[in-house]
Symmetry: C2
Subunit: 116 residues, 2 copies
């Protein structure tokens, strides 16, 4: 068993081309013996965003705090806010953005352990 | 892609012998096309708890709100509160409890899709 606090988990700049104003934490991963899935947390500064990209693994997200958007494959933006869950399917093009000019956007981004 | 709000997700009594005062929501599962993992949310009334049990799959938890405990295999209780992550390994005996006499405990409980 591992119990860990988000505010005690190391924050680092993710290696992700096209990302801006985001930091990553990895509270649970294969390094803890997790058999299948890793839980990462991304904190987006106001205006921060991931690249508009695609990859062969899914994401499952939960919005811990803030107000942002997911840009879908069609280019359409859908609002996401505290209490929302998102499933991004494998190879589905997407981008996360913080829409706020003042507050952070904090999301869980769970992925298969092979990806993180 | 699926975007869904926790407060719009159906709440039901889980079929779980030995559980008391808990309700379950399933915002993301295989029924949404999730390839590997399901995200459930359990809300514990004050004093509510799961059974002290074991099963062959892992849990990954995030505490959305409240103040509770995880009872470990040894019987030792560890506090969990908002912002905590927990990894319970396959076949590791465990129980979740709400320690509050006033407030709910709300946790994400992610599991392999075969289990939910």
């Amino acid at each position: 068993m591992k119990i860990t606090r988000l505010d005690e988990t190391k924050k680092e700049m993710p290696k992700m081309e096209g990302a801006s104003g985001i930091r990553k934490q990895v509270p649970i991963s294969k390094h803890d013996g997790s058999p299948v899935f890793s839980f990462r947390v991304f904190t987006f500064d106001p205006g921060g965003h991931t690249p508009f990209h695609t990859h062969p693994n899914e994401h499952i997200n939960y919005v811990i705090e803030g107000n942002g958007a997911v840009v879908m494959e069609s280019g359409e933006e859908r609002e996401i806010k505290k209490g929302d869950f998102v499933l991004v399917l494998p190879n589905e093009k997407h981008q996360y953005r913080n829409r706020s000019t003042n507050d952070p956007l904090v999301i869980i981004c769970a992925v298969p352990k092979e990806y993180e």
